[in-house]
Symmetry: none
Subunit: 86 residues, 4 copies
Protein backbone atom coordinates (compact mmCIF):
# COMPACT_ATOMS: atom_id res chain seq x y z
CA UNK A 1 0.00 0.00 0.00
CA UNK A 2 1.16 3.51 -0.85
CA UNK A 3 0.58 5.49 2.34
CA UNK A 4 2.26 8.60 3.75
CA UNK A 5 5.32 6.60 4.74
CA UNK A 6 6.10 5.79 1.15
CA UNK A 7 5.74 9.44 0.24
CA UNK A 8 8.21 10.43 2.91
CA UNK A 9 10.50 7.64 1.73
CA UNK A 10 10.37 8.88 -1.83
CA UNK A 11 11.06 12.41 -0.67
CA UNK A 12 13.99 11.20 1.36
CA UNK A 13 15.37 9.25 -1.56
CA UNK A 14 15.02 12.29 -3.79
CA UNK A 15 16.78 14.54 -1.31
CA UNK A 16 19.67 12.16 -0.83
CA UNK A 17 20.06 11.64 -4.54
CA UNK A 18 20.06 15.35 -5.29
CA UNK A 19 22.69 15.98 -2.65
CA UNK A 20 24.86 13.14 -3.83
CA UNK A 21 24.65 14.35 -7.40
CA UNK A 22 25.59 17.88 -6.41
CA UNK A 23 28.47 16.64 -4.30
CA UNK A 24 29.76 14.64 -7.23
CA UNK A 25 29.67 17.77 -9.37
CA UNK A 26 31.48 19.68 -6.67
CA UNK A 27 34.14 17.01 -6.49
CA UNK A 28 34.52 17.09 -10.25
CA UNK A 29 35.16 20.82 -10.16
CA UNK A 30 37.62 20.40 -7.31
CA UNK A 31 39.39 17.94 -9.58
CA UNK A 32 39.40 20.46 -12.42
CA UNK A 33 40.98 23.05 -10.15
CA UNK A 34 43.65 20.62 -9.13
CA UNK A 35 44.31 19.91 -12.80
CA UNK A 36 44.78 23.59 -13.56
CA UNK A 37 47.35 23.84 -10.78
CA UNK A 38 49.04 20.75 -12.14
CA UNK A 39 49.20 22.20 -15.65
CA UNK A 40 50.48 25.48 -14.31
CA UNK A 41 53.21 23.68 -12.44
CA UNK A 42 54.17 21.84 -15.62
CA UNK A 43 54.54 25.27 -17.24
CA UNK A 44 56.93 26.44 -14.59
CA UNK A 45 54.56 28.25 -12.25
CA UNK A 46 54.76 27.70 -8.53
CA UNK A 47 51.48 26.40 -7.12
CA UNK A 48 52.00 27.96 -3.73
CA UNK A 49 52.45 31.40 -5.24
CA UNK A 50 49.43 30.94 -7.47
CA UNK A 51 47.33 29.98 -4.47
CA UNK A 52 48.58 33.05 -2.67
CA UNK A 53 47.57 35.27 -5.57
CA UNK A 54 44.11 33.74 -5.71
CA UNK A 55 43.76 34.13 -1.96
CA UNK A 56 44.86 37.75 -1.94
CA UNK A 57 42.48 38.62 -4.77
CA UNK A 58 39.68 37.04 -2.76
CA UNK A 59 40.68 39.11 0.27
CA UNK A 60 40.72 42.25 -1.89
CA UNK A 61 37.26 41.57 -3.12
CA UNK A 62 35.95 40.68 0.33
CA UNK A 63 37.38 43.85 1.77
CA UNK A 64 35.95 46.00 -0.98
CA UNK A 65 32.54 44.52 -0.33
CA UNK A 66 32.88 45.06 3.41
CA UNK A 67 34.02 48.63 2.87
CA UNK A 68 30.96 49.36 0.79
CA UNK A 69 28.66 47.72 3.30
CA UNK A 70 30.28 49.68 6.10
CA UNK A 71 29.88 52.89 4.16
CA UNK A 72 26.18 52.15 3.82
CA UNK A 73 25.95 51.55 7.55
CA UNK A 74 27.54 54.90 8.28
CA UNK A 75 25.46 56.75 5.73
CA UNK A 76 22.36 55.13 7.11
CA UNK A 77 23.41 56.06 10.64
CA UNK A 78 23.92 59.65 9.51
CA UNK A 79 20.56 59.75 7.75
CA UNK A 80 22.23 60.22 4.38
CA UNK A 81 20.44 57.27 2.77
CA UNK A 82 17.08 55.62 3.31
CA UNK A 83 16.82 52.47 5.35
CA UNK A 84 16.93 49.59 2.82
CA UNK A 85 14.72 47.60 5.17
CA UNK A 86 12.15 50.23 4.34
Amino acid sequence: MAGPASIARDQLRSIIERIEKLEEEKQAIAGDIKEVYGEAKANGFDAKTLRQIVRIRKLDSAERQEQEALLDVYMLALGMIADPEG
Copy 2:
Protein backbone atom coordinates in the same frame (compact mmCIF):
# COMPACT_ATOMS: atom_id res chain seq x y z
CA MET B 1 57.48 44.50 -27.53
CA ALA B 2 55.87 41.10 -26.99
CA GLY B 3 58.66 39.05 -25.45
CA PRO B 4 58.63 35.99 -23.23
CA ALA B 5 57.56 38.04 -20.24
CA SER B 6 54.26 38.98 -21.84
CA ILE B 7 53.65 35.37 -22.76
CA ALA B 8 54.22 34.33 -19.18
CA ARG B 9 51.96 37.14 -18.05
CA ASP B 10 49.17 36.04 -20.34
CA GLN B 11 49.58 32.47 -19.19
CA LEU B 12 49.45 33.59 -15.57
CA ARG B 13 46.35 35.65 -16.20
CA SER B 14 44.69 32.72 -17.90
CA ILE B 15 45.54 30.35 -15.06
CA ILE B 16 44.24 32.70 -12.40
CA GLU B 17 41.05 33.34 -14.30
CA ARG B 18 40.36 29.68 -14.88
CA ILE B 19 40.87 28.92 -11.21
CA GLU B 20 38.68 31.77 -10.08
CA LYS B 21 35.94 30.74 -12.46
CA LEU B 22 36.06 27.15 -11.26
CA GLU B 23 36.01 28.24 -7.64
CA GLU B 24 32.95 30.33 -8.32
CA GLU B 25 31.22 27.33 -9.84
CA LYS B 26 32.20 25.24 -6.88
CA GLN B 27 30.74 27.84 -4.54
CA ALA B 28 27.54 27.94 -6.56
CA ILE B 29 27.15 24.19 -6.18
CA ALA B 30 27.87 24.42 -2.46
CA GLY B 31 25.03 26.93 -2.36
CA ASP B 32 22.76 24.51 -4.20
CA ILE B 33 23.56 21.80 -1.67
CA LYS B 34 22.72 24.14 1.16
CA GLU B 35 19.43 24.91 -0.55
CA VAL B 36 18.54 21.25 -0.78
CA TYR B 37 19.18 20.85 2.94
CA GLY B 38 17.07 23.93 3.58
CA GLU B 39 14.19 22.53 1.53
CA ALA B 40 14.51 19.18 3.25
CA LYS B 41 14.33 20.88 6.61
CA ALA B 42 11.24 22.76 5.52
CA ASN B 43 9.71 19.36 4.75
CA GLY B 44 10.43 18.12 8.22
CA PHE B 45 13.70 16.28 7.66
CA ASP B 46 16.57 16.76 10.06
CA ALA B 47 19.64 18.12 8.29
CA LYS B 48 22.12 16.57 10.69
CA THR B 49 20.67 13.12 10.14
CA LEU B 50 20.61 13.61 6.39
CA ARG B 51 24.30 14.53 6.48
CA GLN B 52 24.99 11.34 8.41
CA ILE B 53 23.19 9.29 5.81
CA VAL B 54 25.15 10.87 3.00
CA ARG B 55 28.38 10.28 4.87
CA ILE B 56 27.57 6.64 5.58
CA ARG B 57 26.60 6.00 1.98
CA LYS B 58 29.86 7.52 0.85
CA LEU B 59 31.77 5.22 3.21
CA ASP B 60 29.72 2.25 2.03
CA SER B 61 30.52 3.09 -1.53
CA ALA B 62 34.22 3.43 -0.74
CA GLU B 63 34.15 0.05 0.99
CA ARG B 64 32.34 -1.50 -1.91
CA GLN B 65 34.99 -0.20 -4.28
CA GLU B 66 37.74 -1.53 -2.02
CA GLN B 67 35.95 -4.83 -1.97
CA GLU B 68 35.71 -4.93 -5.73
CA ALA B 69 39.36 -4.00 -6.12
CA LEU B 70 40.28 -6.79 -3.73
CA LEU B 71 38.15 -9.22 -5.66
CA ASP B 72 40.02 -8.24 -8.81
CA VAL B 73 43.31 -8.89 -7.06
CA TYR B 74 42.18 -12.37 -6.05
CA MET B 75 40.75 -13.16 -9.46
CA LEU B 76 43.92 -11.91 -11.09
CA ALA B 77 46.01 -14.04 -8.74
CA LEU B 78 43.90 -17.03 -9.61
CA GLY B 79 44.25 -16.32 -13.30
CA MET B 80 40.52 -15.76 -13.60
CA ILE B 81 40.94 -12.35 -15.25
CA ALA B 82 43.57 -10.71 -17.42
CA ASP B 83 46.15 -8.33 -15.94
CA PRO B 84 44.78 -4.81 -16.56
CA GLU B 85 48.37 -3.48 -16.56
CA GLY B 86 48.86 -5.53 -19.63
Copy 3:
Protein backbone atom coordinates in the same frame (compact mmCIF):
# COMPACT_ATOMS: atom_id res chain seq x y z
CA MET C 1 54.23 -0.75 41.62
CA ALA C 2 54.89 2.41 39.66
CA GLY C 3 55.69 1.16 36.18
CA PRO C 4 55.61 2.80 32.74
CA ALA C 5 51.82 2.65 32.67
CA SER C 6 51.50 4.99 35.60
CA ILE C 7 53.92 7.40 33.98
CA ALA C 8 51.82 7.47 30.85
CA ARG C 9 48.71 7.92 32.95
CA ASP C 10 50.22 10.86 34.77
CA GLN C 11 51.31 12.38 31.50
CA LEU C 12 47.82 11.94 30.10
CA ARG C 13 46.24 13.50 33.15
CA SER C 14 48.62 16.43 32.90
CA ILE C 15 47.87 16.96 29.21
CA ILE C 16 44.11 16.87 29.72
CA GLU C 17 44.29 19.23 32.64
CA ARG C 18 46.44 21.73 30.79
CA ILE C 19 44.07 21.72 27.85
CA GLU C 20 41.01 22.11 30.04
CA LYS C 21 42.60 24.98 31.91
CA LEU C 22 43.50 26.75 28.67
CA GLU C 23 40.02 26.22 27.28
CA GLU C 24 38.53 27.73 30.40
CA GLU C 25 40.75 30.77 29.98
CA LYS C 26 39.72 31.05 26.37
CA GLN C 27 36.08 30.93 27.36
CA ALA C 28 36.67 33.57 29.99
CA ILE C 29 38.15 35.88 27.37
CA ALA C 30 35.25 35.21 25.03
CA GLY C 31 33.04 36.31 27.91
CA ASP C 32 35.09 39.48 28.35
CA ILE C 33 34.66 40.29 24.67
CA LYS C 34 30.93 39.84 24.94
CA GLU C 35 30.96 42.18 27.94
CA VAL C 36 32.76 44.88 25.98
CA TYR C 37 30.14 44.69 23.25
CA GLY C 38 27.44 44.86 25.91
CA GLU C 39 28.99 47.96 27.46
CA ALA C 40 29.41 49.54 24.06
CA LYS C 41 25.76 48.93 23.31
CA ALA C 42 24.82 50.52 26.60
CA ASN C 43 26.80 53.56 25.47
CA GLY C 44 24.82 53.80 22.25
CA PHE C 45 27.14 51.97 19.85
CA ASP C 46 25.75 49.42 17.44
CA ALA C 47 27.32 46.00 17.98
CA LYS C 48 26.92 44.95 14.38
CA THR C 49 28.82 47.97 13.13
CA LEU C 50 31.52 47.48 15.73
CA ARG C 51 31.94 43.87 14.64
CA GLN C 52 32.17 44.98 11.05
CA ILE C 53 34.91 47.46 11.91
CA VAL C 54 36.88 44.83 13.79
CA ARG C 55 36.44 42.41 10.91
CA ILE C 56 37.55 44.87 8.28
CA ARG C 57 40.61 45.85 10.30
CA LYS C 58 41.48 42.19 10.53
CA LEU C 59 41.09 41.83 6.76
CA ASP C 60 43.30 44.89 6.23
CA SER C 61 45.99 43.46 8.37
CA ALA C 62 45.74 40.00 6.81
CA GLU C 63 45.97 41.48 3.34
CA ARG C 64 48.95 43.62 4.24
CA GLN C 65 50.75 40.57 5.58
CA GLU C 66 49.89 38.55 2.48
CA GLN C 67 51.05 41.37 0.26
CA GLU C 68 54.41 41.45 1.99
CA ALA C 69 54.78 37.70 1.85
CA LEU C 70 53.91 37.75 -1.83
CA LEU C 71 56.44 40.49 -2.44
CA ASP C 72 59.09 38.33 -0.83
CA VAL C 73 58.11 35.44 -3.05
CA TYR C 74 58.46 37.59 -6.15
CA MET C 75 61.76 39.07 -5.04
CA LEU C 76 63.05 35.64 -4.25
CA ALA C 77 61.92 34.41 -7.65
CA LEU C 78 63.75 37.29 -9.28
CA GLY C 79 66.91 36.63 -7.30
CA MET C 80 66.61 39.96 -5.53
CA ILE C 81 66.79 38.48 -2.04
CA ALA C 82 68.40 35.40 -0.55
CA ASP C 83 66.40 32.25 0.04
CA PRO C 84 65.28 32.38 3.70
CA GLU C 85 65.34 28.55 3.68
CA GLY C 86 69.07 28.95 3.34
Copy 4:
Protein backbone atom coordinates in the same frame (compact mmCIF):
# COMPACT_ATOMS: atom_id res chain seq x y z
CA MET D 1 37.39 71.85 19.34
CA ALA D 2 36.77 68.99 21.69
CA GLY D 3 33.01 68.44 21.48
CA PRO D 4 30.83 65.37 21.93
CA ALA D 5 32.04 63.94 18.64
CA SER D 6 35.58 63.62 19.89
CA ILE D 7 34.35 61.98 23.06
CA ALA D 8 32.42 59.42 21.03
CA ARG D 9 35.48 58.93 18.86
CA ASP D 10 37.69 58.27 21.83
CA GLN D 11 35.14 55.87 23.25
CA LEU D 12 34.95 54.08 19.93
CA ARG D 13 38.70 53.83 19.70
CA SER D 14 38.86 52.46 23.22
CA ILE D 15 36.19 49.85 22.51
CA ILE D 16 37.86 48.66 19.33
CA GLU D 17 41.23 48.46 21.00
CA ARG D 18 39.93 46.52 23.95
CA ILE D 19 38.20 44.03 21.66
CA GLU D 20 41.25 43.62 19.48
CA LYS D 21 43.46 43.09 22.49
CA LEU D 22 41.11 40.47 23.90
CA GLU D 23 40.89 38.70 20.55
CA GLU D 24 44.66 38.59 20.36
CA GLU D 25 44.79 37.02 23.80
CA LYS D 26 42.18 34.51 22.74
CA GLN D 27 44.23 33.63 19.71
CA ALA D 28 47.34 33.28 21.83
CA ILE D 29 45.56 30.78 24.07
CA ALA D 30 44.30 28.88 21.04
CA GLY D 31 47.93 28.67 19.98
CA ASP D 32 48.91 27.37 23.42
CA ILE D 33 46.28 24.66 23.16
CA LYS D 34 47.60 23.66 19.78
CA GLU D 35 51.08 23.47 21.27
CA VAL D 36 49.92 21.17 24.03
CA TYR D 37 48.41 18.83 21.44
CA GLY D 38 51.66 18.99 19.51
CA GLU D 39 53.70 18.09 22.57
CA ALA D 40 51.31 15.29 23.41
CA LYS D 41 51.67 13.92 19.92
CA ALA D 42 55.44 14.04 20.26
CA ASN D 43 55.02 11.91 23.39
CA GLY D 44 53.06 9.31 21.49
CA PHE D 45 49.52 10.40 22.30
CA ASP D 46 46.92 10.57 19.56
CA ALA D 47 45.51 14.09 19.23
CA LYS D 48 42.16 12.96 17.92
CA THR D 49 41.61 10.69 20.88
CA LEU D 50 42.68 13.40 23.30
CA ARG D 51 40.15 15.75 21.75
CA GLN D 52 37.47 13.12 22.23
CA ILE D 53 38.36 12.76 25.89
CA VAL D 54 38.19 16.51 26.42
CA ARG D 55 34.84 16.65 24.64
CA ILE D 56 33.39 13.78 26.69
CA ARG D 57 34.57 15.29 29.94
CA LYS D 58 32.94 18.57 28.96
CA LEU D 59 29.67 16.77 28.27
CA ASP D 60 29.96 14.91 31.56
CA SER D 61 30.45 18.16 33.37
CA ALA D 62 27.46 19.71 31.60
CA GLU D 63 25.36 16.69 32.56
CA ARG D 64 26.55 16.93 36.12
CA GLN D 65 25.50 20.57 36.25
CA GLU D 66 22.09 19.66 34.82
CA GLN D 67 21.85 16.98 37.46
CA GLU D 68 22.68 19.41 40.21
CA ALA D 69 20.19 21.94 38.91
CA LEU D 70 17.54 19.23 38.82
CA LEU D 71 18.41 18.20 42.35
CA ASP D 72 17.92 21.80 43.44
CA VAL D 73 14.51 21.81 41.80
CA TYR D 74 13.47 18.70 43.69
CA MET D 75 14.89 19.92 46.98
CA LEU D 76 13.17 23.24 46.49
CA ALA D 77 9.90 21.47 45.72
CA LEU D 78 10.30 19.45 48.91
CA GLY D 79 11.03 22.54 50.95
CA MET D 80 14.54 21.30 51.70
CA ILE D 81 16.21 24.48 50.45
CA ALA D 82 15.21 28.11 50.20
CA ASP D 83 13.98 29.61 46.92
CA PRO D 84 17.07 31.24 45.32
CA GLU D 85 14.75 33.69 43.55
CA GLY D 86 13.89 35.00 46.97
